[in-house]
């Protein structure tokens, strides 16, 4: 690290050096048989430099010999100078960055190598077999992935940050087939370590989720499509994570504020009413979470940010290089997929909080659509005979922050009533400024472990979040559910 900084200085530039080491393995089991086990270890260095005029260049590599590091630093400096020659954009934020030394211990409970592979494979296979036996005829693929990223980030001037990001996930992919039709559903449970496989409560939760998805795959084979339209909706917390992430979170990241629907004259529209007064939105790292990152990829501790407070936009997600331009504070939001990527402002764990949530009497995954309907009737949140649809299971989303168009997809749609009717999944398409205003109520406890991968500008980083177990959304002409 020091060699890279010294070499950068020798070439007349200042820099941020990122060292990343990754240890990872994945186990794939198809219908009771090991398909593949892959071991991976890697390390590399990214050198991001700035000329004193503020022009940036970047070089990275996985060969860390002295000669290679010197070459990398020289190439980064050359590119920064080339950038200056072509009239690139200046950014001098690095020179004003606070000087810090940060070291955060790993939040994992079980060490990376807590289990040998011989111990792990039967554990994963048990989960695969459990579902195969419960649902004969279903094809079951079980993937367990465990990794730990260790980061060391140094800046010219003496700042240094050391932290690690352990994570683990078990994903079950379930395919049902019947008379030439096929449907695939997925369940996922994420965390930081192998606790997913041995902590009884987590194992049971994972199994309950997978059973629900297996049942759904079978039932979806014959389910009709819903009629496209604008409806009153109930969504589960994983979809609420999608709503917070796609509809809102990306629009408050400092690098995109200049063109964001939530920007005004290049600055984030602080003070603007963006949601119902009962609604707040928070983003920040949670130890033990799939997307935990305590320090930014620029070496600045990550803050927990209350972005929306009682319906009003009060803050954004700012990184070192664009927070000031966006008119917001630096919150340590810079994240990178790897040492070979330039960090971007990103979310970690984003959640929607609603005041005075309605209490649930049992775990959310045990609540049936019919029980949800009864609860809504009891609470006066839906009128008898009123049309309302329940969207369950998050399958990913996408946003265009410039125009505020976003989508996310669900695993299933139920028309609620005394006897709920199952429909095929349909896209939830909305507009940023309408979607949050449509949130009317939260039901159940806060659940923040809905996990996924955010692919902003082609860089994949773990993301997570949630809300109360369920959110109720009023019908809005700018929210469309896709169907027939």
């Amino acid at each position: 690290m020091q060699l890279a900084l010294t070499e950068a200085a020798r070439h007349g530039v200042q820099g941020i050096i990122r060292y990343q080491a990754v240890q990872e393995f994945s186990i794939i089991i198809n219908n009771g048989k090991v398909e593949r086990i892959v071991n991976e270890e890697s390390e590399g260095l990214g050198i991001q430099v700035f000329t004193f005029a503020g022009y940036c260049g970047f070089a990275s590599g996985d060969c860390l010999t002295e000669a290679s590091v010197k070459t990398m630093a020289a190439k980064a400096a050359k590119l920064a100078n080339l950038n200056e020659g072509f009239g690139g954009e200046q950014n001098k934020a690095l020179f004003q960055a606070p000087q810090l030394t940060v070291s955060v211990p790993s939040p994992r409970k079980y060490p990376f190598d807590h289990f040998t592979m011989q111990e792990l494979v039967p554990l994963i296979n048990n989960e695969n077999q459990y579902i195969m036996q419960a649902f004969p005829g279903l094809s079951v693929q079980t993937v367990y992935r465990q990794l730990e990223e260790k980061w060391r980030i140094a800046r010219s001037g003496g700042s240094e940050a050391v932290f690690s990001m352990p994570r683990a996930v078990i994903v079950q992919t379930l395919t049902a087939r019947e008379e030439g039709r096929s449907v695939t559903t997925r369940s996922a449970l994420g965390g930081t370590d192998a606790g997913l496989l041995i902590d009884t409560a987590r194992v049971e939760e994972g199994r309950a989720r997978t059973r629900a998805m297996a049942e759904l795959a079978k039932n979806l084979l014959t389910a009709p499509k819903v009629k496209s339209g604008h409806y009153k909706l109930l969504i589960d917390y994983a979809l609420a994570k999608g709503l917070a992430h796609e509809a809102f979170g990306h629009a408050v990241e400092s690098d995109g504020v200049r063109t964001s629907i939530l920007g005004e004259k290049g600055k984030l529209a602080i003070g603007k009413t963006v949601a119902h007064p009962k609604v707040s939105i928070v983003d920040g790292p949670i130890p033990g979470d799939w997307a935990y990152q305590p320090v930014s990829a620029n070496g600045i501790p990550r803050d927990t940010v209350r972005i929306v407070d009682k319906g009003k936009l009060v803050a954004g997600l700012g990184d070192l290089f664009s927070a000031e331009g966006a008119g917001i504070a630096i919150s340590g939001a810079g994240r990178a997929e790897s040492y070979a990527h330039i960090p971007l402002p990103r979310m970690t764990n984003i959640r929607i909080e609603v005041e005075d949530p309605i209490t649930l009497e049992k775990p959310w995954y045990q609540v049936t659509p019919a029980e949800l309907y009864s609860l809504l009737l009891e609470q006066g949140l839906v009128d008898p005979g009123e049309e309302i649809y329940y969207l369950a299971g998050y399958k990913g989303g996408q946003v265009n922050t410039q125009h505020g168009d976003f989508v996310f997809n669900c695993s299933a749609i139920y028309k609620l009533g005394a006897e709920p009717v199952l429909y095929q999944p349909g896209i939830f398409a909305g507009k940023t400024l309408s979607a949050l205003k449509s949130i009317q109520a939260g039901i159940g406890p806060m659940l923040t472990d809905a996990q996924g991968t955010c692919g902003k500008w082609g860089q994949g980083v773990p993301s997570s979040g949630g809300s109360h177990a369920f959110l109720l959304l009023n019908s809005d002409p700018e929210i469309t559910i896709g169907g027939e």
């Binding site: 890697s42 590119l79 469309t480």
Partner: protein
């Protein structure tokens, strides 16, 4: 250190003269890419902005399969850090190996085809002078405002590297390959890209600019639409994305064998008529300078053209050596990247197709394709950038939600296909449900 030579040396040692008998290898195979990529971009109209700064990435990485006695396998990702310390790791990998008789079959040496996968100009951008990449981006900044475009996001990247494939059966292949990619997104409304193993010719850059500029102009004129079933035209770029989404996973041999796709092995065995007879789907890694082209697979199978669906009938899934043994079929070339080609008979010109539509939309982009379930073929998508077609003319932009079943569209004899200049894929026309959003 030459990583590939060092890796070969250690593997040969552990196969023929291991220091510890327990670590004797039955065989091995690796495929490694030693690559350098240079890129630059424009974000928010600014060339070389901090998030799109000029970047050079160098790396040498790939996958290694070690086969231990008794057909036990270890799959490992290799890179300089791993190879430098390989011998310390071997006992751990040996301990964690799993038995996989079908996965233990290695290929030997076979004659390789000729395929153009390296372009000297791209190599020069990477190894000598990257300025032409910046000049290309500057051209976007200078020319796109002429179409009234005020917000430009763009990127260009060039890559050069050596690909090495080796097996303990005597297969030893090394060859150079290049990659070139450029994209532009204008006003957050519409963009186009160019990806091949050669640079874009001037006429292709001009098509990229003109196609983007004229489409954005049309998209700025908003109009309305009455929801209902109507003619929908998917642009060639979208057809490519739909084919990758819905066919790549369903034609995977591994998915077929494990009952995780839309088709079964019996379907292939019977040559089941799945799509309209005009439709052929192929893997073709021999097309000159296509990004999906290569000389041999990572397992060492020589590249060749292979139809997976011919005149609408299932021929074979694409199969690794392991999956081919399980399926009782021959291994095939594998799609790289999207890598599937849609060939259709009787395609029109795209202008002719649009002129023939009385009431419909031309879909320019969709949101949410990656969230769809490929196995069933159905889709429900937001299409915020569509052009309304009335009496054969484009009349303005509409935002819609579209839904249907892509596999059924390919099966439908009423589906139309049309080619557009400079596009690898045809546009597709079919009737489906459209709702104004």
């Amino acid at each position: 250190m030459d990583m590939v030579a060092h890796l070969e040396k250690i593997l040969n040692q552990y196969q023929y003269n291991p220091p510890v008998e327990d670590l004797r290898m039955q065989g091995w195979r690796f495929a490694v890419n030693d690559h350098t990529v240079i890129k630059a971009g424009i974000r928010n109209n600014k060339l070389g902005e901090v998030y799109a700064a000029p970047t050079l990435n160098q790396g040498c990485s790939g996958d290694l399969l070690i086969i231990w006695p008794g057909d036990f396998c270890s799959h490992v990702e290799v890179n300089p850090a791993v190879v430098n310390d390989l011998e310390r790791r071997l006992p751990f990998w040996r301990q964690g190996a799993y038995q996989d008789p079908e996965g233990s079959v290695l290929l030997g040496s076979e004659p390789l085809p000729l395929a153009a996968v390296e372009h000297q100009s791209v190599k020069a951008y990477v190894r000598e002078d990257p300025k032409p990449l910046f000049q290309l981006l500057n051209r976007f900044r200078e020319e796109l405002p002429a179409w009234g475009i005020s917000s430009i996001q763009a990127g260009v990247q060039a890559g050069w590297g050596l690909r090495h494939v080796r097996t303990s059966q005597g297969l030893a292949v090394s060859y150079a390959q290049t990659s070139f990619n450029v994209y532009v997104l204008a006003d957050g409304l519409y963009g186009k890209s160019f990806s091949k193993r050669r640079p874009a010719a001037d006429v292709e850059v001009q098509e990229l600019l003109t196609g983007t500029g004229t489409t954005v102009q049309k998209l700025k004129n908003e109009t309305s639409l009455e929801s209902g079933k109507m003619s929908v035209v998917l642009s060639p770029e979208l057809v490519e994305e739909f084919v990758a989404k819905y066919l790549l996973s369903n034609l995977s041999g591994n998915a077929v064998i494990n009952n995780q796709g839309a088709y079964t092995l019996e379907d292939f065995g019977q040559g089941k008529q799945t799509f309209d007879p005009r439709v052929t789907i192929a893997v073709n890694p021999l097309k000159p300078f296509e990004l999906s082209s290569y000389l041999c697979t990572r397992e060492g199978l020589p590249a060749r053209s292979q139809r997976l669906i011919h005149k609408g009938k299932l021929v074979t899934p694409y199969l690794t050596v392991k999956d081919s043994i399980k399926a009782g079929l021959a291994p095939t070339p594998l799609p790289q990247g999207s890598g599937l080609w849609l060939e259709v008979e009787g395609a029109q010109e795209i202008d002719e197709m649009v002129q023939g539509i009385d009431h419909g939309i031309l879909v320019c982009s969709v949101l949410g394709l990656h969230t769809q379930d490929a196995t069933g073929g159905s889709y429900s998508l937001s299409a915020p950038q569509c052009l309304k077609i009335e009496a054969g003319r484009i009349t303005g932009r509409v935002k819609t939600v579209i839904s249907g079943n892509f596999l059924q569209h390919l099966a439908d004899s009423a589906t139309g296909y049309a080619f557009a200049a400079g596009e690898n894929f045809p546009a597709m026309r079919f009737d489906t449900s459209v709702v104004q959003a």
